[in-house]
Amino acid sequence: MTAESQPWSNRFRPCCLADVAGNQSAIYQLRSWMRSWEKGPPDQRAAFLFGPPGVGKTCSVVALANDLDYDLLEVNASDYRTKKRLEGLVGRASLQTLTITGRRRMILFDEMEGVSGVEDRGGISSIASIIKESRVPVVLVATSTGEKWEDKFRPLVDLSLLIEFHPVPFGDMIRRLQDCVKELGISVDMDALELLADRSEGDLRSTLNDLEAVARGKKRVTLEDVESLSDRDRKDYTPDALMKLFSAKSLRDARRIVSSTHIGYDDLYDWIYENLPIVLDDSSDLAKGMEALARADIHQSRAKSTQEYRLLKYMFNEMTGGVALSKTRSEGAGVIKQARTKIATLGFPPGAFTVTETAEGVEIKPVRYLGQDWRRVNSVFRGMGAQWMREGGRWLLPYFRPPQLIWRYRRTWHSRRRLRSVAARVAERCHISSKEAVSEVIPLIRVMFQGDKAMAENISSWLELEKKEADWLKRET
């Protein structure tokens, strides 16, 4: 396999420790421990490297072996790791410090988190006994996810020097990416590089995979290319993303939600627009936030009309950062305040409803049986986006509601179809455009239809309207 055809996360594996990005103190620990072997086996014959994925744990071991000229015997998840197998594979090697060609030897047990209790029966304990007897350095590597991961490795943890790896810091990540980009001879816009680094949360390997996904076969990578990447991992449920957005204190934090939600940026935009006036309850905040959204809208229409999609980044900045940073004076009690205000307009004595915040949303509960009033109250709350929950006898008003636009278009479909056909008739008979018919004439025709039956029939036949259309005009809006 030539360098060019390799996946980039392999191709840019550091070959010496100096090239490893971040985690300098962990690397220093590892290196000192290796050097201590030169004076014979130290107390802890194994080093146990753990940390999140893609931060350079295995890379560091491989690079170190290169630096110090060790022969590296590697056992990973592709090998069966039962007691018997392991003893066959490494048992003997661990007792011989030199290879046949006279090089020093070290052993790497990679992907330890994948050692299975069933298929790899006895694996952990046999690794433990290998460590106890070993004459050569043994390095264990595990990706730690979740809590209590080390319980499984208890016998090994006690025998090993524990070295923790951390996510690669943003700056180190950028520097490493720049080196790779230089070596590839391509150009990647700085903001694109930043977004790549940002969205990976310190996982350099996934960043390189992402870079490869967008940059293969390209001379130049723009922000837009990166935006188009579907997020490989955890997608936020939209309301959670909105919660993050409205509590963000920096452009970077706010901006993150564009790539972390599972919906497209235009849907996300609609969600933000729908909920913005509920969260921003201060009028100056709201005016600023709405203006940010309006500016975002302009950037989007420019990007579309010029086909210059790099302009979209300005849209993203406005719709996330612009909105989030507008929130300076708002109490953020949006939904609950909205609920209280609405309840006050219903004409019940104070205390007729209890309003409480729960994890799912604001709960509105009538204290007494509402009887005939229920319908009226329900329609008011429904208008706010609340839902009646039969069990518990309460309305639940979610903190964020989905965009109402599509729902509204769907609800008014028939009515809009009538409007169009009537408008076409009016336009022809009155020598005007249908637009003018809609805005100037039809509203007045409605008044005529609702006020005077004879006139309605007269106009109806003059316009040659169908009965359905005439009935539609008679209906109060």
């Binding site: 627009y273 709201l286 005016a287 420019r302 509204r408 409605r446 008044v447 006139m455």
Partner: protein, 323 residues
């Protein structure tokens, strides 16, 4: 009562019947006498007789079968270059038969809303088919018509109707329809419609329908409350009071349920804001904001978003004024 919409029922059928725009009418009558006319460009505000003039001219020229010799297109409904290429060409290239007039007339209403590419296509068509077809382009502003077209047309500028003419007209119709129209009613109609005769007539008819033929100022205001300007005013007031969510609901009703164009809403917002009882300097500030939104809409921005941003500004203004 018969005849559907009164605005159509009482539309002058011949140039003789037209009571205003006398100077223009006499020039048009000369064309009829000559049995020949140039390409025409009619510009002026709405409801002052532009379409009426050309339809009357056609009737005078061709007689009662005039419909066979004209094609009416509305550019705002049939925008774009393809309409020009297809419909206009097909109509323009065939000569008028069985008439002593050797040409037909193509009426293009709201021609000022044609894109400039479409206007350029139109200009060529006008040249090529001059022998068989005359064009009458109608619009509000001559500025939106490209120079080459203007230079190929005789331009007629229609002025707004005088207050007296308008009031006479409305009163005449009311008498003929047996509507008891009070003096206050006439005033209210003029106040709302200004020189727009079609609007005035429609307003009268709607008012007559609500009060069994008794129309005073209250009747007119009641009707006005039910049509778009009334609802837009309500939206503005909600905005000023800081009820953003309610105002946005109203905006959605106007835009989606009632199909109102964003430019109509912005036009009404503008004229309503100038009439608001707020300090004059605020009117200037708001006018600037409205102008910005208006421009953005011409650039393809989303109407609901831009208008919502405007409502949010209204809320801010309302709050600052309250202090």
């Amino acid at each position: 009562m018969s005849g559907g919409m009164w605005a159509e029922k009482y539309r002058p059928q011949t140039l003789d019947e037209m009571v205003n725009q006398t100077e223009i009418v006499s020039r048009l009558m000369n064309f009829v006498k000559d049995r020949n006319l140039p390409h025409l460009l009619f510009v002026g505000p709405a409801g002052v007789g532009k379409t009426t003039s050309i339809l009357a001219l056609a009737r005078d020229l061709y007689g009662s079968g005039y419909r066979n010799y004209i094609l009416e297109l509305n550019a705002s409904d049939e925008r774009g270059i393809n309409v020009i290429r297809e419909k206009v060409k097909n109509f323009a290239r065939t000569a008028a038969i069985s008439s002593d007039v050797p040409f037909k007339i193509l009426i293009m209403d709201e021609a000022d809303s044609l894109t400039s590419a479409a206007q350029h296509a139109l200009r060529r068509t006008m040249e090529i088919y001059t022998r068989t077809c005359r064009f009458c382009l109608i619009g509000n502003y001559s500025e939106n018509i490209i120079e080459p077209i203007q230079s190929r047309c005789s331009i007629f500028r229609f002025g707004p109707l005088s207050e007296g003419d308008m009031k006479n007209w409305v009163t005449t119709i009311a008498n003929k329809e047996g509507v008891n129209l009070f003096e206050e009613g006439v005033e209210a109609i003029y106040e709302a419609a200004q020189g727009d005769l079609r609007k005035a007539t429609n307003l009268l008819q709607a008012a007559a329908a609500t009060q069994q033929g008794e129309v005073d100022d209250v009747t007119i205001y009641t009707v006005l409350g039910k049509v778009s300007p009334g609802k837009v005013r309500e939206m503005i007031n909600m905005g000023l009071k800081g009820q953003f969510l309610d105002a946005r609901e109203m905006l959605r009703t106007l835009l989606i349920d009632e199909g109102l164009a964003a430019e109509d809403i912005i036009r009404i917002v503008y004229s309503e804001v100038l009439r608001l009882g707020i300090p004059e300097q605020w009117k200037v500030k708001l006018s600037d904001t409205i102008g910005e939104v208006d421009y953005r809409l011409t650039q393809g921005a989303r109407p609901e978003i831009q208008l919502s941003a405007l409502i949010a500004k209204l809320a801010l203004v309302g709050e600052e004024m309250g202090r």
